[in-house]
């Protein structure tokens, strides 16, 4: 995919709506298109994969391995959603879950090292990118809390 097309795809994602054209082009310059077939492992928990991803089409499962129980899907990421955010958060430094495509999936991969460098050079871009990633991480936290609450459990009845 051409950088201009990549920029357009990035802009179509809700996360990057507000990004100015020159910043979109900077992101597109360090991005590439990737495609996975159904069932393909994208990265594994604990690995130091250095890319984060924006799903264009398809569905990706984020999984954790539980000893003696096997893999459990904790979340899925579909179109316009980001996964692999930990690549851009140095203090985490490694993938917090494994990722596997549940169907043929197309995504935009962004080089995390280059992204960090671009954000260092352009603080306006950096502010926007990390605010966006904060949104992603906060939404994961909220979703996890709701999952922990087990909201569908039957309460006091009639």
């Amino acid at each position: 995919m051409e950088p201009r097309s990549l920029a357009e795809v990035l802009r179509s994602a809700q996360l990057f709506w507000g990004l100015e054209p020159q910043h979109l082009e900077k992101l597109a310059a360090i991005a590439s298109e990737v495609t996975w077939t159904e069932g393909q492992v994208i990265f594994r928990e604990g690995e130091a994969d250095d890319r984060l991803y924006l799903v264009v089409e398809g569905l990706v499962a984020l999984e954790m391995y539980i000893p003696n129980r096997g893999r459990a899907t904790i979340l899925t990421a579909g179109p316009h959603e980001v996964f692999g955010w930990s690549a851009a958060v140095p203090v985490v430094g490694k993938k917090t879950a494994s990722a596997r495509s549940l169907q043929r999936t197309r995504a935009i991969a962004i080089d995390a090292g280059a992204l960090c460098a671009a954000c260092e050079q352009d603080h306006h871009l950096g502010y926007y990118v990390y605010r966006t990633l904060a949104d992603v991480i906060a939404s994961r936290l909220t979703a996890t809390r709701l999952q922990l609450l087990d909201v569908y459990a039957v309460g006091k009845g009639e």
Binding site: Q14, V151, Y152, G157
Partner: protein
């Protein structure tokens, strides 16, 4: 009863508002663990002929010696003769109903409550957000939309459940999709055999780009889920008076006398169960309210 009972919702199709009419269970459809749909037919043909309901209304289902429970109607308002209630076991009454089979008799009085404002939403895009048993009172809306599809713009159903086996009415999703309705399904937990989405319902909003000027949201599910649905809808600038929730509280009389279902200045049996967010905002996040 005094004359005020003859007004408005206090005159249910089943006659006197406090007297249940016997209805025969004609079919029992298991839906999920602890959830069944009961199809009922009134024993008195005249009652059956007169019975009408709107999407979102509920009936009081009565079992002699056990009690009553408010149960949403989950069937097509255009086919009131095939009256269905999807019941989840949650207490004494629903536990007793769960032991009943076709041929059993249940007392029914109703319908009560207001309805989803399907007329006010004409011309709008609809986002229908359901969690767990919350899809039951929304299914009549979906049937209404199927029958009047041209009256609405883009229609999206966001539906969640705890486990894949807990999803309600999965056999109907393809039919809904065939009417140009987007149906997105998610579950909180799943094993490797599940190939669909995992995650809570509110996060399905992330992929939506609703036009706030022409979007109406209907939601029903666990109240904590609806908190976050409202949050996500407001974040996308959907007006507060176009976000509708169906609230649940224990009900006894269903005719706005006992106050058991009071919610702020409203009685959910009379003013609800469907309320727009602008009406309940001051109370919605108050603990123990």
């Amino acid at each position: 009863m005094n004359s005020t009972l003859a007004k408005g919702h206090w005159s249910p199709a089943t006659g006197h508002p406090m007297v249940p009419q016997p209805a025969v269970i004609t079919h029992v459809q298991p839906e999920a663990h602890g959830v069944m749909t009961y199809t009922l037919g009134f024993r008195d043909p005249a009652v059956g002929e007169a019975y009408r309901f709107h999407p979102g209304q509920f009936n009081m289902l009565y079992l002699p010696g056990i009690g009553e429970a408010a149960i949403s109607i989950s069937s097509d308002p255009a086919e009131p003769a095939a009256l269905r209630h999807t019941v989840r076991i949650a207490g004494n009454v629903t536990q007793a109903i769960s032991r009943m089979e076709a041929g059993g008799v249940i007392g029914v009085r109703g319908p009560y409550g207001n309805s989803w404002p399907v007329d006010r939403a004409v011309g709008n895009d609809l986002i229908i957000v359901a969690g767990g048993i919350g899809l039951a009172p929304l299914r009549p809306v979906i049937y209404h939309v199927l029958r009047h599809r041209a009256d609405y713009g883009k229609v999206t159903i966001l539906n969640g459940a705890r486990l894949p086996a807990d999803l309600l009415y999965p056999q109907e999703y393809d039919d809904w999709r065939s009417h140009d309705i987007e149906v997105v399904v998610t579950v909180d937990r799943a094993d490797e055999t599940w190939k669909g989405r995992v995650g809570v319902v509110p996060i399905l909003f992330y992929a939506l780009r609703p036009d706030p000027k022409r979007t109406t949201v209907f939601t029903c599910g666990p109240e904590i889920m609806m908190h976050f649905v409202v949050y996500e809808a407001l974040a996308r600038r959907v007006p507060k008076d176009r976000i509708y929730l169906s609230l649940e509280r224990n009900m006894k009389c269903a005719v706005a006398f006992c106050g058991r279902c009071q919610y702020g200045p409203t009685f959910l049996c009379k003013d609800g169960p469907v309320l727009s967010y602008d009406r309940i905002e001051p109370f919605f996040t108050v603990e123990e309210f």
